[in-house]
């Protein structure tokens, strides 16, 4: 038994050595298990499509790109361990993580070890607030989602009052802060603002209270199946505002459409990428992501992760494999991708923040149709929602 084990170990070792010589490695941390597993699967698909695309085009400076993917099990400590492991493997850059709650401490750790962190998905405002030159973000910050939604609501017109309900975590609180600041500025009265703890599955009392307040707009921000539970219970309680909106994440998942069925109809959902966007190559990206997901519909998270790998490869191409040089190269990134443009700029109090057009989609006939802004719209908004 022992000789066989030794041989296997040797074979594995030589295999790793052999593969190590010919490839450029970058690290990625996402939630392949745990409560964010669905998003992790989306990210994984995006990574895969990008790596395949880069390698099919001949890799980076003649070398193949290899992605070292680590699972953080939706847990901060595991994410930090995974990042440490990747840093010890001397990757010049790490992409990750999925959720804001995990990404914030991760970005602090990466700054300490001076290796750039490329954030693909997490949208908490503070992640790209200054003070951390090693964090770069492909996705928009949460206020862009909220602001573009409120701008759109104002454009549609005829709505004066709003209630906001978000999850009780970094992402949700970020949205709650943005919304309660931006809504009054746009002329809305906020009748009620609430958060809920994860694991809560009975939103009925809250929705009943909203029904009593009779708001024009209801804004939700929540993860995954909470979005489904919310949509179903909105129908159950008979809450019928003129418009209901969900800020990205759970609402932007194809699973939301599947799980909530007809109760999702006419929800406004903010996102930065949808199958009907007009960037060159977007249709092909959609098809490739769908294949990578085994036929499942891709979400914006997959497209963001795809763009993050492209940006990483581009920076390594220009900066080599030294983390410091890659960091400098990221600062001068200028890419046009099927996800949209990627440039990391310092503006309006943010550092190394990409800026993508915030899309407003509406669920129509069980599909996300982009209805705003006017430059990107492929359909017309239906109001009031049915």
């Amino acid at each position: 038994m022992r000789p066989i084990q030794t041989l296997t170990a040797l074979a594995l070792l030589s295999f790793t050595l052999a593969s190590a010589q010919g490839t450029i490695k970058i690290g990625a941390v996402t939630s392949l298990s745990g409560r964010f597993a669905t998003f992790g699967a989306m990210q994984q698909a995006g990574f895969k499509v990008a790596v395949d695309e880069i390698n099919a085009k001949g890799g980076i400076n003649g070398q193949k790109l290899e992605l070292l993917l680590e699972d953080d099990a939706s847990d901060t400590n595991k994410a930090l361990n995974a990042a440490e492991k990747l840093v010890n493997e001397r990757v010049p850059l790490v992409i990750g993580a999925y959720s804001s709650g995990v990404t914030k401490p991760l970005s602090q750790y990466m700054a300490r070890v001076k290796v750039p962190l490329l954030v693909a998905t997490a949208i908490d405002e503070t992640i790209t607030k200054p003070g951390n030159a090693y964090t770069f973000r492909v996705n928009n910050q949460s206020s862009v989602y909220t602001r573009s939604l409120i701008t759109e609501l104002k454009r549609i017109g005829g709505m004066k009052t709003a209630v906001v309900l978000t999850s009780n975590d970094a992402f949700g609180k970020s949205v709650l802060t943005d919304a309660t600041k931006l809504l009054p500025a746009a002329g809305f009265t906020v009748l009620s603002k609430d958060t809920y703890d994860k694991g809560l599955t009975d939103f009925r009392p809250l929705l009943n209270r909203y029904k009593g307040q009779n708001p024009d707009v209801v804004i939700f921000a929540s993860y995954e199946e909470d979005a489904v539970a919310l949509a179903k219970q909105v129908r159950e309680t008979g809450l019928s505002p003129r418009m209901i909106a969900g800020i990205a994440t759970g609402f932007a998942l194809p699973d939301f459409l599947k799980g909530a069925g007809s109760t999702a109809e006419n929800f406004l959902v903010t996102m930065v990428w949808n199958a009907d966007v007009k960037y060159p190559g977007a249709a092909s990206l959609y098809t490739r992501l769908k294949t990578a997901l085994g036929g499942e519909e891709p979400s914006q998270h997959a497209a963001q992760s795809y763009a993050a790998v492209l940006a990483a490869a581009d920076a390594i191409k220009r900066g080599g494999s030294d983390p410091e040089k890659v960091r400098a190269a990221l600062e001068s990134t200028k890419l046009n991708t099927a996800f949209g443009p990627v440039t990391f700029r310092d503006y309006a109090g943010y550092q190394n923040q990409n800026s993508v057009v915030g899309l407003i989609t509406q669920v129509q006939g069980g599909k996300f149709v982009t209805v705003g802004p006017a430059s990107a719209a492929t359909g017309k908004v239906v109001l009031p929602r049915k």
Partner: protein, 295 residues
């Protein structure tokens, strides 16, 4: 209060009662097991998860109506509970007290991890169009599936009561609860009775799981959310007191709902726990007394 606010209040009350009914159903199984065998079943939430996943699997494989899954989940739960009592708990012998605690905790871990292996960690739900239909009485709107869940709870608990007080088996169960040795001397096969009781308890958890599935989503550790509720319900009503568990469930459901409606949603779990602590302090025997004998 204007008319809209009054309607919203009554709607919350009715929905709280129906949610509480589900708590009661879960608590009844726990209470029954405690009443007869004096053990606390820590795997109760995981048995509920089994019920949910059976519904999910049958729906995905055969597009089976979730409520028809009851025909599978209830007998499966019973058989599982029966076998667990026969082959695991009964073997603990004199060490049943502390042994059952570890054994049921361990069983729970095995179940949740098996579900994790089989179904993955991500939350999953099923979507049946009629589950979102609603009925309206005087402006108070309630979903059909929540009503079905409430009706199912009433039926299951009434059936259990009929069995306990109108049949020979029920007499044997009650005898076993009151005095196992005495029952054994009267010719009652207490080991068999205990296995049946455990089976019924597990079956109740599985039934609750099926009834919850059209309303909610499931994931391997979903039981955790409910097992605490079941404990609160059981203690509120008095350990081993079945009518107590029913009232305890309804009280908890209403308190949680009204608390979230009037005060704040964030302390939702706290409302139940505050009442729980008050009952423990003021009436340690539960609202209806620790009438284990009455099972």
């Amino acid at each position: 209060m204007d008319q809209v606010a009054v309607t919203a209040f009554f709607q919350t009350l009715v929905q709280g009662l129906l949610t509480g009914g589900l708590y009661a159903l879960i608590g009844t199984g726990l209470s029954l097991i405690f009443g007869v065998m004096k053990i606390i079943n820590f795997a109760h939430g995981d048995f509920l998860a089994i019920g949910m996943f059976i519904t999910l699997a049958l729906f995905k494989a055969f597009n089976l109506d979730p409520y028809l899954s009851l025909l599978v989940a209830a007998p499966f739960g019973f058989a599982l509970g029966y076998l667990i009592q026969r082959f695991v708990l009964a073997r603990l012998g004199d060490r049943l007290g502390e042994g059952s605690l570890l054994a049921t905790l361990g069983l729970g871990l095995i179940i949740s991890n098996t579900l994790l292996l089989g179904f993955g960690a991500q939350p999953q739900s099923i979507n049946v169009p009629y589950a979102i239909n609603t009925l309206k009485f005087a402006g108070v709107q309630v979903s059909v599936s929540l009503l079905i869940a409430g009706l199912g709870t009433v039926l299951a608990i009434s059936a259990l009561n009929l069995v306990l007080y109108r049949t020979e088996l029920g007499r044997a169960i009650r005898a076993t609860a009151q005095n196992p040795l005495g029952a054994e001397l009267q010719g009652v096969k207490t080991s068999n009775i205990q296995a049946i009781v455990f089976g019924v308890g597990v079956s109740f958890a599985a039934i609750a799981g099926v009834l919850l599935m059209p309303l909610l989503y499931t994931f391997p550790t979903v039981g955790e959310n409910y097992v605490t509720k079941a404990f609160i319900v059981t203690v509120l009503g008095g350990l081993g007191n079945l009518p107590g568990a029913v009232v305890g469930g309804l009280v908890l459901g209403v308190i949680e709902s009204l608390g979230a409606f009037y005060i704040s949603n964030n302390y939702r779990d706290a409302y139940g726990l505050i009442v729980f602590l008050l009952v423990l302090l003021l009436r340690p025997e539960g609202l209806f007394g620790r009438t284990v004998k009455r099972v």
